[in-house]
């Protein structure tokens, strides 16, 4: 049994096709300015239908995380323990990703991460996250803006 793979539909086709180009985009409401992810047919704030797309810088922080030891499906059993994180992108939207290239014990809330695209058995790569090295000035900015 293979892992569940994204099946793009009329609402998400743009998102997944952009992933193939190595970019992560979220929806932006041209009427009220609300940013949202996952993609919808209309704005969740004003319910207007005039939605555009904005690119993410690919930088974010860990908003929450868990190391999964008991896989929900046979196809994930070889991966345990694997980390699932909710990543807060610096543009303000949040997305679920696996956190790669890190020991689960070393993950913390607020940890800086960067996106990358991981090939799957299907047509579309998955956006994933890994720890990000920061420049000193950026560290200071995160400390000053920290809400945690």
């Amino acid at each position: 049994m293979s892992k569940p793979l994204p099946q793009p539909d009329v609402v998400t086709r743009h998102f997944w096709s952009i992933c193939k180009e190595g970019r992560f985009e979220f929806q932006h409401c041209e009427a009220c300015g609300h940013d949202q992810f996952p993609p919808r047919l209309s704005c969740t704030a004003c319910h207007g239908a005039d939605l555009g797309w904005r690119p993410s810088s690919g930088r974010g922080t860990v908003y929450s995380f868990t190391a999964v030891h008991r896989a929900p499906l046979e196809s994930f059993k070889a991966d345990v323990p694997y980390v699932i994180a909710i990543v807060a992108l610096e543009e303000g939207v949040r997305a679920m990703m696996n956190l790669r290239e890190v020991d689960p014990q070393d993950v913390t809330i607020g940890m800086p991460v960067e996106l990358f695209f991981e090939p799957t058995e299907g047509e579309y790569p998955l956006p994933q996250a890994r720890p990000r090295q920061m420049y000193p000035s950026e560290t200071l900015k995160i400390i000053m803006n920290s809400d945690s």
């Binding site: 996952p38 929450s64 868990t66 030891h69 008991r70 929900p72 699932i84 909710i86 679920m96 990703m97």
Partner: protein, 384 residues
């Protein structure tokens, strides 16, 4: 002709590992017993509200159950809101009665999730509630989704793994007083800390059971309830709130719709959390109960954990809670899991809880949550 709604009959089947059981059989057994508990006959039932089944799913479960019972209700639908289903069934039954549409409504649920399917299949089926495109490709399951809540909640409010473990231990203590409970072995904080990790910070003993079991409640019009066997338990208030389905779309990882659902129920009943004598609150995971106790306002943020370690949820504590043993230690068989909470509240108010009876309670609070703290329904029940 509108009339206030009261609960007139409750029953649950044997729970845990019920060899040879079927989903339909458990529902029928619970239904017949609840109707008998009310002193009614099945022919008196004019409304049927069913839930859902994993082992015998059907597009029209409520019709299937009525057909099996041999009744022809004038109102019949299935309700599906995950762990909020049971409370939502009771809330809807009360609305049907207060609108004058029904006189005696049967709310019934049951599933044989333990013997009717493998543990792997149950876990896999539950993981399908994850978002198909933006959660499931990452290996999300229900425990992992609640673990994301737990991690953030612990970070924001200083909750420790020991605080969560305290909930598992307190709930097991209640179950040990209940001869019907699936898990009655005593456990300690160390046992919880040493149980195998499922999705950090949640360990096996932080997670609910998988069980067989059926549960049913009869809700009647107050004037029709004069003929029932026992004094009716009043549905004083009910409320709902639904903020999201997928954890990725939740407005918050620490504040949930139980706050608004319970505020509605308390408001309609004209009572405050401090007035509640006994509470039966959805506990799919230890973090579920902790987040709900604090969001609803029974404890201030960060204070439930230490209070529970000091005995706050015990029979003589500030808020006796999940006195039957909850989903963590009594049983969890799908929608019936939430109905066990409703039934326990009624038994406590009637004074039928035997060795786990709270001293003469007058007001009970019941809460169910479905999804990942997504759908919430609260009830305030009272003995007049």
């Amino acid at each position: 002709m509108a009339s206030k709604a009261v609960i007139t009959g409750v029953a649950d089947t044997a729970v845990g590992k019920v060899e040879g059981s079927t989903s339909l059989g458990l529902q029928a057994e619970a239904a017949a017993a609840a109707v008998a508990d009310a002193g009614l006959s099945l022919g008196d039932i004019d409304g049927v509200l069913c839930a859902y089944s994993f082992t015998e799913p059907h597009l029209m479960l409520s019709s299937v159950v009525s057909e099996f019972l041999g009744i022809m209700p004038s109102y019949s639908v299935a309700v599906s809101a995950g762990g909020a289903t049971a409370c939502a069934q009771v809330m809807q039954a009360a609305a049907l009665i207060e609108a004058g549409i029904c006189r005696h409504v049967l709310a019934v649920c049951g599933d044989n999730r333990l013997t009717g399917m493998s543990r792997d299949k149950a876990v896999a089926a539950l993981s399908e509630v994850g978002h198909a495109q933006f959660e499931r490709p990452y290996g999300i399951g229900i425990p992992a989704a609640y673990a994301l809540v737990a991690q953030r909640y612990m970070h924001d409010y200083g909750v420790t793994p020991e605080h969560l473990a305290g909930i598992a231990v307190a709930t097991r203590k209640h179950a040990m007083r209940n001869p019907k409970a699936q898990m009655r072995q005593p456990i300690t904080l160390e046992d919880v800390a040493r149980s195998k990790p499922i999705a950090t910070p949640l360990r096996l003993l932080d997670c609910c059971l998988i069980s067989d079991g059926g549960a049913a409640v009869v809700i009647s019009a107050a004037d029709a309830a004069r003929d029932t066997r026992k004094r009716g338990i009043e549905i004083l208030g009910a409320g709902q709130m639904n903020t999201h389905e997928h954890i990725i779309a939740s407005p918050s990882l620490t504040d949930f719709g139980c706050k608004q659902a319970s505020a509605q129920a308390f408001g309609r009943a004209g009572v405050k959390p401090a007035d509640i004598d006994v509470a039966e609150i959805y506990d799919s995971f230890t973090i579920t109960l902790l987040a709900e106790l604090e969001s609803i306002g029974f404890f201030a943020r960060g204070e439930a954990g230490p209070a529970i370690l000091a005995g706050a949820l015990d029979l003589d504590g500030a808020l006796p809670c999940n006195t039957h043993g909850g989903l963590l230690s009594y049983a969890h068989s799908g929608a019936a899991g939430g109905m066990f909470h409703v039934i326990e509240a009624v038994r406590q108010l009637r004074g039928e809880a035997e060795g786990r009876q709270v001293a003469s309670p007058k007001l009970a609070f019941v809460h169910g949550d479905g999804g990942i703290l997504s759908a919430h329904c609260s009830l305030v029940l009272g003995r007049n």
